[in-house]
């Protein structure tokens, strides 16, 4: 069992590791390694999955690439440290990865109890249910007595328990370790329902043989703000991850895209000039080169481009922007100003 071994290894790192891995200096470590290690999932279509030639692609991977572009100047210098829902925080805290970009819900207990630092939301999600259309179920309130496939080690496990007991319904939890195993169990009929974040359901549905035989129920039973995380104790590194995310959102808001970023360097808008490092010294204040945000947009793109390329309406996942549209367009994506 790979996951188990790595959990044990991470615990071993906690035992044997030098007491220094969790202190300041992640930026220097990454720059001296010359590669950024991102903790990512073991494979969720559209979010993080290796393509046919083994190159990792996806929404989370693009944010990892954006971070590498900012820190190392080259978006390709990343290493994907795969982890299950169960091992992700142990891996991050044991220093096996530098930053976590992995469909991770921000919660109180993770922030405070697991001692993580969260840096804002890159995807507003919520937990939903997927069923086979042949079951004839149209609402989650009709699921009394159903068998529900669920990934272990996730917030969805707790939401599910709360939702069913709040509505006085019973269910049989079928607890699975990875998304792929959950999909197999759902396909074979071991469970009636698969529940996870709505984005994950869209991803799983797109990978099923006949996506049209399955439907996602209308109920969204939880708030799942997904975002990046880092370890406690390195404020500089935390700032960098926070502002990498903000840079992609601000770029979309200011209309800076992969295609026009070079022209934008001679824009009249002072905020664009500050963002791209033409004016001011924001990059140096972060400890990076001044063109850090330029590199992100040039090599990876702005938030909207990352979204549409990996999970947007023209992809097999076909997710509309919804809550993830910019605040100016009715969504929740809102970055503090670059000032």
């Amino acid at each position: 069992m790979k996951q188990k071994t790595t959990a044990v290894l991470s615990a071993a790192a906690l035992v044997l590791g030098v007491a220094g891995t969790t202190q300041a200096g992640t930026l220097e470590d990454v720059q001296s390694q010359g590669v950024l290690r991102c903790v990512v999932s073991t494979g969720i279509a559209g979010f993080a999955q290796p393509d046919a030639s083994g190159v990792w692609k996806g929404f989370d991977i693009d944010f990892c690439r954006a971070t590498a572009a900012a820190v190392l100047g080259d978006a390709n210098k990343i290493e994907a440290v795969t982890s299950t829902g169960k091992t992700r925080f142990t891996k991050l805290n044991a220093g096996e990865g530098d930053v976590l970009w992995r469909n991770t819900t921000i919660t109180f207990s993770r922030d405070v109890g697991v001692k993580l630092r969260f840096h804002g939301v890159n995807y507003y999600d919520g937990q939903g249910f997927m069923v086979k259309k042949s079951l004839g179920v149209n609402s989650a309130s009709e699921l009394d007595g159903a068998s529900v496939c669920i990934q272990t080690g996730t917030t969805t496990e707790l939401n599910l328990a709360d939702y069913f007991s709040a509505n006085g319904m019973k269910y049989e939890p079928v607890t699975i370790e990875t998304n792929d195993e959950a999909r197999q169990n759902y396909e074979s009929g071991r469970c009636d329902v698969y529940t996870t974040d709505a984005s994950g359901l869209a991803s799983t549905r797109s990978a099923l043989p006949n996506p049209d035989d399955h439907m996602v129920l209308p109920e969204i039973i939880s708030k799942e703000p997904l975002g990046p995380a880092t370890r406690h104790g390195d404020d500089q590194w935390s700032d960098i991850v926070t502002w990498v995310l903000n840079a992609t959102i601000t770029a979309e808001e200011l209309g800076v895209t992969m295609g026009n970023v070079d022209q934008m360097r001679s824009s009249n808008n002072p905020e664009v000039l500050r963002l791209l490092g033409v004016d001011g010294s924001q990059g140096q204040e972060l400890g990076l080169s001044n063109d850090w945000a330029y590199q992100i947009i040039k090599q990876v793109g702005n938030y909207g481009e990352i979204f549409e390329r990996n999970i947007g309406v023209d992809t097999p996942l076909g997710i509309a922007r919804g809550l993830n549209a910019l605040w100016t367009e009715g969504g929740l994506m809102y970055s503090p100003p670059f000032r």
Partner: protein, 396 residues
Amino acid sequence: MASSNAPSNVLSQLWRNKESRGVIIQIFTMVIVFGLLAVIARNVVINLEAVGKEFSFDFLFWPAGYDIGFSPFIEYTNKSTHFMSGVVGLLNTLLIAFWGCILATILGFVIGIMRLSSNWLVSRVSYVFVEFVRNVPVLIHILAIYAIVVTILPSTKQAISLGGDLFFLSNRGFYIPAPIFESGAGWVGIVLLISIGLVIAFKRRAKRIQDNTGRIYPVFWISLAILTVLPSLALVAMDTPISWDIPALKGFNFQGGMAVKPEFIALWLGLSYYTAAFIAEIVRAGILAVSHGQTEAAHALGVRPNRTLQLIIIPQALRIIVPPLCSQYLNLTKNSSLAIAIGYMDITATLGGISLMQTGKEMETMLIVMGIYLIISLLISSFMNWFNSRIKLTER
């Protein structure tokens, strides 16, 4: 001059002396081992402090918040504590270990004896089974059986009905009627206990008579008669106080009755036949180690082949079989932690899995889980040591 040289002289003498050199080396080894342990403990404390985590077991009494699909023994809800989820996991681990050891032993003995059969086909079948099973990792066996159970068996709506709609087989489990005890059932239970007592008493008596006179009673058939006739009479006398809760399809799943879940079936069968392959070889080795002269002597005395095996070969073979058998039981118990691969909720999956994740207490949960496996294993070892000392060669 001589006095200033004394200490080094003493040391070099101590070093030259074989016994004291041994002691010195042992002391050094101990210092190194304990030093390493101290470094590890210190590292843990420093590293946990560095991430701002407190080493504490308080989390055990926080509400767990998650549901467990398989808790046959105790009531568990998502409002129970992490401690209770650990208990559920522990009971599930013990359940699989118990039934696994029993099935593995039965299969192992049968296959081991088949392997020694003079029938070519029987011994070859057993040979192929052993070599195939023990040369494939046990995780693969478990995953394969789980895949077979879940994909080949029909869904609940098309469940295979057996015995006139009493038993149902589907990929959600094997559903069987569950007994409901009404008033008066207690008396039947008491009668059952009494008949078990009678069987034990009868067995002792039969053995004594056999030891004294050589007369052999058909112990098995008489025991079976006692065990079936008396409780049935009690059942009739009390006007059948036991009714059956028969499983029926309601909504998504079967309701009522008892369910043996596919996760349990896969883990149980996988662990059992994998371990049985090893036990078969141990049994074969044990039997082959008993000198053929013993069989010949028994045959010469007119003892039938079945009895020769039962009374002469197996008791002697057991002395060789039991110690390695103990290791196999330990292996099976520890391998049961592979449950997590198919979602059987054992201690590794509940306390060492979900609770770890929800509370972020890796060190604490892992220490508890390790401690529990250690205790279970030590209990099994001490039981097997006791059993071994009972059957060992009594020298007069």
